[in-house]
Symmetry: C2
Subunit: 625 residues, 2 copies
């Protein structure tokens, strides 16, 4: 189907917006009037620039506060419209969006509205323009698409139809099913936006918090399916007002937008039962997602392996191999694998979580999926004897490798690690696997990140949380496979606006232990520093839960944090941060599904406390158990 986007969705000058939109492969563009009015480009120049970029001008918008007014005002409004028709002719635009009026001078009279819109359509037709009438969610008299459609039907003019907008329909919880009662030829345009469920006035919500489909909480695909069932085959056009997109780089936002539309078409095809060959609708469907089945490894880039090696040893890991051609060590315990890379560009900045290996049933298909969803595929820099590694870049720059570890049907990346000193079976600890990884996103790419993991990897986004940090707020959203074998926590820090405020781009690897008490004792015995949890936390925990004296004493003694949900319990602790990275050790008891978010503020406060200098620090003494 034809893909379009409104210029208001992107940042920059009109020229920059058009370039970004063309570059992302869109077919058309909605010219948002304010973007044109403030542009030094003439309408003719816009038309020709768009044409050069392969973009049609699918809509000119918005024309406001036209209908259901007294005669004197109608004359003024028609005069205004004639000026806009003239601009549209110069632009080469043939569709004008007319929003339902919000004017206090308008009256609640459908017949009058219909009569005046019919008059507008007649005038428009003389300029080759058609009118798409849209019910704004906050329209004064008309705020429901079926009401707009009744007026259009009453007006009965071939150049007057409706414009449907997913935000205006879904934000008011209007049932989109009745869209199917509108004849396709009277649906002149379809605008698409998603939004997170936020408890606020619909106008304020619309102006600041819209996002691309797949990034919010609306069922946009369901709405598109209703529209397509009418036979509508016009553009699918994104129209997003978002405070963050206004500030982000337009080329990147345009790609994010296109990824959203590709994913949306796939989801709509699914609703229509057309996943295999969507010939009837013309929806295009990318190769299906290949859902990862686990973590193959986490790779830390560091200037030296020493301190991290000590920490991994204390956790019970053993070094099982060294890469045959690069300065990379492989450490293993259970199916948890950590790579220490001292040769990457990021290594010098201290430990950084630079790459994640994901177990894929079909690595090549994983990459094909990622490519179809516009993810940058990374160049494969490998030696002649190295196993193939398929990798793409996540929005925050983390490299994602698709692996089949030690499977007979595929070369294993572990084969490149020779010089093994120890066998994985020698690992002494309780760690079984990587439970999750947590990545801090640039704040203007948070929605992009959740859409990336959802669409490219088929992960399911969980609720977005806000967590207090001593210097701001942390927004956190987990994405995971249904079975929980791959979990990624995406964080964005709105922290520390003032000079000297703490830097916060922390990342972490959470390791699952089958006996966290033993793991904590193991670290204590090795003298390994863990993040100090305040005694006040345990006083509060005892107030909140009655876990029995013995268990409370053990949690306090070992510095373990505790949470529970309706499925089970969660125990966890953290190592101290080195560079940007720390480890978490977790144990899920029963079917606990969360990530201990309730304890994140405790962690954040403790992490902001500057660690006592090592020389002056007291070694942690084991207390009598």
């Amino acid at each position: 189907m034809r893909r379009s986007i409104a210029t208001v969705s992107l940042s920059g000058s009109l020229a920059e917006k058009l370039t970004a939109i063309g570059g992302a492969g869109f077919d058309g563009v909605e010219i948002f009037e304010n973007d044109l009015v403030s542009s030094a480009m003439s309408p003719e120049e816009v038309r020709s620039r768009a044409a050069d970029l392969g973009l049609g001008i699918d809509l000119f918008q918005p024309f406001r506060d036209f209908e259901a007014v007294p005669p004197a005002l109608l004359a003024r409004n028609l005069r205004r419209a004639e000026h806009k028709f003239a601009v549209m002719e110069r632009l080469g635009a043939t569709r004008l969006l007319v929003c339902s009026t919000v004017s206090p001078e308008s009256v609640d009279d459908d017949a009058l509205a219909a009569e005046q819109l019919r008059l507008l359509a007649e005038r428009a037709a003389a300029h080759g323009v058609r009118i798409a009438y849209e019910a704004l969610a906050w329209g004064r008299h008309v705020n429901d698409y079926l009401h707009a459609w009744r007026i259009v039907r009453m007006a009965d003019h071939p150049d007057l139809g409706v414009c449907l907008d997913s935000f205006h329909i879904l934000s008011r919880d209007v049932d989109p099913y009745a869209i199917e009662t509108i004849p396709a030829e009277k649906i002149f345009f379809l605008q698409l936006a998603d939004a997170p469920a936020l408890p606020m006035d619909v106008l304020y919500w619309s102006r600041h918090y819209r996002c691309f489909p797949g990034q919010g909480d609306f069922d946009v695909a369901g709405l598109v399916a209703h529209v397509l069932r009418t036979g509508y085959r016009g553009p699918l056009s994104l129209e997003v007002f978002n405070d963050i997109f206004r500030q982000a780089a337009s080329t990147r936002t345009a790609l994010d937008a296109m990824r959203s539309l590709i994913s949306l078409e796939e989801a709509a095809a699914g609703r229509l039962g057309e996943t295999a060959a969507p010939v009837r609708t013309g929806l295009s469907v990318p190769p299906p997602p290949v859902v990862p089945t686990g973590f193959a490894f986490a790779e830390l880039a560091a200037p030296a392996t020493g301190p991290l090696g000590e920490l991994l040893t204390a956790l019970g890991f053993v070094r099982t191999g060294v890469h045959s051609g690069k300065p990379v060590e492989l450490w293993e315990q259970g199916s948890a694998r950590v790579l220490l890379n001292t040769g990457s560009a990021e290594s010098e900045d201290g430990p950084v979580l630079g790459a994640i290996g994901l177990e894929s049933p079909d690595p090549a298909a994983s990459v094909k999926r990622a490519e179809a969803l516009l993810s940058p595929v990374l160049p494969r820099l490998r030696g002649p004897r190295d196993a193939p590694l398929d990798a793409v870049a996540a929005p925050d720059g983390t490299e994602l490798f698709f692996c089949r570890t030690a499977q007979p049907d595929h070369p294993s990346w572990t084969d490149d690690f020779t010089g093994s000193r120890r066998d994985p079976g020698e690992a002494a600890g309780e760690i079984t696997h990587i439970d999750h990884v947590a990545l801090t996103q640039p704040w203007h790419h948070f929605d992009e990140a959740s859409l990336f993991y959802r669409s490219v990897l088929g992960l399911r986004p969980h609720d977005s949380l806000e967590l207090p940090d001593p210097y701001g707020l942390l927004r956190s959203r987990a994405v995971s496979t249904e079975d929980g074998r791959v979990r990624v926590a995406l964080n964005v820090a709105y922290v520390g606006a003032h000079d000297g405020a703490p830097d916060m781009a922390w990342q972490h690897v959470a390791l699952a232990s089958e006996d966290i008490v033993a793991t904590a004792r193991r670290l204590r015995a090795a003298g390994t520093a863990r993040l100090a949890i305040p005694a006040n936390y345990y006083d509060d925990l005892e107030a909140r839960y009655d876990l029995g004296e013995e268990r409370h004493r053990l949690l306090r003694e070992l510095g373990l944090l505790y949470d529970r949900d309706e499925h089970g319990e969660f125990l966890h602790f953290y190592t101290v941060t080195s560079g940007r990275v720390f480890f978490e050790v977790v144990q899920r008891l029963g079917g606990y599904r969360g990530y201990g978010a309730v304890n994140a503020p405790i962690r954040l406060a403790a992490q902001h406390v500057p660690p006592a200098p090592r020389s002056a620090g007291r070694p942690e003494r084991p207390r009598p158990a």
Copy 2:
């Protein structure tokens, strides 16, 4: 009266918060429980640190979801309370805030709530603790202070009273008048917060957008007056949840908070008719504001006077003096005065608006007022023969000088400018005075700035506007004297989050012309570049207004922007930006009260266009008139 603040209002660790609160001169503090739980300081250490800082612990808060529950849950809740009473004894806190329940396990039964709160108060009394029961605006059964008071009255226990919170009352538009029906001894605590009028769910609004009294739209002073009329003489305590304060430097926020309380006490005293000697209430009242009567000057720091001098000359200004001891030139036209300073620390960065002179009926009293409201008074670096200049620093660092220009009762700063070459009367242009100045604020000090201008100078804040910029949003709020002789536009730019995004800390000086057409022609004749306004703007203006062919042609020819309100019309244009500064020339026709905000997006888009190199640029040709 006793002044207090909740730790949640500030950023940082609990230790940092206490230091900032003590440093700002507060008498007491509310310990927000989460701040204690995440702190490494024990309750005893907190108590002693607070005491060292001269702070009493006025409240421990919040205790949630206690009342109106089934017996088994009551037992758990009482167990939880006992733990908290123990913490409070260690803290030395004797008041506990209990919020009305939001628990789905609670029932709508006032008698049961009263019975259980009475039981809680009995338990509390054994620990020397009193219970302050507060109606949350989003309480499940109790969301109105009078309802909370009915339950407290029903419970009838000496250690149970109400806590009043201005946000919970004013956000729901509950009439605060009935506060006067509550006996003072049953008002255990008073929490104060303001908020901007925002159309959203009250909980979301409360969690993110509270601000200090005087920064929002609530009549907090009126509420305080009602409370004081009961005879309440307990603490006035600020409790603000604000996403920006969470990120800003705590020492600065604490001063902002104290300025708010000082100003609030003054306003409350005014409501009580106690402005002169508020002995009855114990409110303290600072010296009254001295409202400025006009602009004395705007001072630009620049590396050289050449280009600015050319521009001022083109505008019709004449250089009337040079400072006797510093490299500062005085340029005049009408009562508009501009200083060009090539000797300040900021001069090297290119033109910067570093200082503003304000005409004051009593400069010494202006400074006393500013000092009483915690504004930094600037050191007076002046030569032995210089006139005294009283100055304070505004929140963004702009220096504000209080002047009496050429008045017989006071030395005039203009006397320091000797070496005059020209007489002000020689100025040839149409500029009469400075209409307004516009200052860009650091984004985490915007609310502080509006409170500063309101409280220190007695200016009136106007509505807060959001204006689209090609790379983000601009928030803008004007403050002015009632007569409009002093107007300041405060802007904050949420712009350009991505690498390479434009820097935006623009400032400008708007000069009033009595014939803007003549001024525009004067600049054109001098070959002075003005900001180019797109032809599309004029096409749109013609669509929006029918001003007559001749007038439209003139606006377009001269690049003038146009606006109107119900009082009159506004014509304006801009010079190109140099350094951080540009000039605007404005003409108000009739009683137009605004600032042409509708045209700001046009300006912003034009300002982001890189200027054509001067050599390659075409000189502006006068078109045939």
